[in-house]
Amino acid sequence: MIRSTYLVTRRDYLGYVSAWGFWLGLLFTPIILGIFVLAPTFAQNAQPTRYFTVIEQGTTFTEALRDNLSGSDARMARAMLDPLAVVEGTDSEKVAAFDAAIESGASVTAAFAQAGGDPVTLPRQDFVEVDPPVSSGSELAPYLLGEILVATPEGPQPLFAALVVNDASGEIEYWSENLQARTLISAARQAENDLQLDRALAAVNVSREVLSQARDAQRDVKQQRVRIGAEADIETEVTQTDRAPFVVSIMMAFSLWFLIFSVINYLLMGTIEERSNKIFDSLLTSVKLPHLLAGKLLAVLLLALTLMAFWGIGSGLMTWFMRESIPADVAKGLGSLVTAAANPALFVPAIISFVLGYLMYGALFLALGSLCDTIQEAQTLMTPLFVTLMAPLAMLAFAIQDAESALIEIMAWVPFFTPFLLILRMPTEPPLWEVLAQLGIMALTTLIILHLATRVYRAGAVHGAGVNDVWAFFGKLIPGKKSSA
């Protein structure tokens, strides 16, 4: 068995890795993922500055809008200085320095620099206010349509939007030909909200300072956890190290899903190729069917490991070469993730889940591929499987919010989802019997699927069964329906 399985594995594996498509996927996947992650930043930086004006008797609303827009820039700068602290509302030296600089009247750019940020990395201002070219809203049309340009610091430019404060009607009108961009109109609404709040406070002789004082007096709600045993001496406050297993489990579950989703097509394509090339009889007189299937599954598993190794080593090397420029707190965070990933309580179930999950889905795709002569035929059978594979991805969103969600706990018992969801559950330290039971059910289901897949593969490879036979089979299951097959 070992020799024939090895030979099938070797042939298939070398066939896959010698295809240019494999290397294209290997190299381009990280690039595409990188682009996907950085796309919002790129898009923001690529977006041209938009010019707006405010027509108002006086400057009250205009001032409120200016404050709001600069506040928005300040919030962006704070988030860039220490994303984790800003999201979680925890203390941060950088953010405190920035706030102090703003408080003392510094511009966002200057405060960002004072807090240790590089102003070059700050995104460009989205909206720049210009003087109103006309005194009433009724004369704005040619400017908004781009027929007449407005004077800006960068020379004549089209007017993107105008806000007209109509004292007579008591309304604020937002004029723009772009109906989709919501940022400026949201800022205007917020500014009006702030303005009216200030007026209400003034009416009862309360200064806005009171709100600032109240905010300053807010007590931080610090997340704590009970520590016992070896951890009894550690501070009870929740740290990055505590959160790392949850982050790692989500990364692992996503990686498993992504790998299975990426390589499963190779099994499908390989089998369809062999069926359409009519090579099964030659193979089946040289190697036993279970050995043939084992060889094929191993070949694609090796392919998945090759991808993992390539991307893992690549990431490791990049981190190593960039180690000098990685901020200490980021390095510490990465260290926590590595430590969490190295925990056997997480990686042992992860590895078992990966292998069983791969075998389960791999055998299904292999069997269905043996029934198809063309990709078009395969697509009709693959849709339910792909939909099944998408469900765990949706579960990841739940896990990010609450890894102990009852939904995840229940769905983890469904063997088709267990490979992904068990990993997500591991940081919540579920009872050992549950882990073992879910692994056991998953292993049993995998064995049953392997057995059935072998039978389906034999039907497809030896007897030439096809897609129509599958539909005929399901037709027979419908009570009262006679199948023509």
């Binding site: 066939g15 090339n277 090579i279 009889d281 030659s282 040289s286």
Partner: protein
Amino acid sequence: MSGETPLKMTGVSKWFGSFQAVRNLDFEVPKGSIVGFLGPNGAGKSTSLRMALGVLSPDRGDVKLLGAQPNLESLKRVGFLPEERGLYKKMSPRQIITYFARLKGMSHRDAKARADELLDMMGLGEFGRSRVTKLSKGMAQKVQILSALAHRPDFLILDEPFSGLDPVNQQALEDLIIDEHKRGATIVFSTHVMEHAERLCEKIVMMARGRKVFDGTLEDAFTALGRAVHIGASDGFDMTAAMAPAGFEAQKDGDHWRIGLKPTQTSQDALRAAIDLGAPITSFTPQEARLRDVFVSLVSEAEAQDLTDTLAADDADGRDAA
């Protein structure tokens, strides 16, 4: 190869749903022989050969391949060319031959050397490292044949090996089969082209409608058909009446008479008798026995028998229903 019979099938039947593809098949391939497995399309030849190799399991009966139930060990001594041709399109002929030879147990080095040797022998040396997609259909078929015999099998099973080959390549394949036979291999090949069987085979097995209709030597096949001469005579001469006293059976066959020959009679005997009887002879043609005629005759009989069986079964069903 030890003394075991390469292939013995006993009472083998195979159904696909309600259709019976092979019916109670008995036959044996003697060691060291070349056996022709003949029959029209749909006769059950490929199904029988796939059962012989264990690819399909018989529903009834017993198959012994090299003395045992077909298994991976016995299959290592067998080379098989399936009816449905196929190769890995992205591999080179050299890689394919090496791969299948290794699956049959050869070492990597021996398999590669053997692949080079066979490719050179068949004039495909220069294409050895090209992708299969660059080969012509005939070349690709040769590669598949070479894959079947690369591991020097004791027993070669070739399903329709000549189909799709041009006459030159058919001759090359015949030569290859003869060479393999000389090497000591036992060979079974299926075909519906009788000329190949006439030239190569010592033994013939014929199938029609899933049944074996003949199993024997070429001579047996010709005997089964019966020999004859065709004699032309002037109008009005009754050859049947004239030849009967001399022990010959004559039948009108178009514009001439067909005189059947018994095993002890020769065509010269028939001619001499006709002259002696004063027949006004206008032509004389000894009928050469051809396997094609045997084949057509036996297949027609089998089809007639099949039709009779079907009608009888329908009648029985009708009676049951009544």
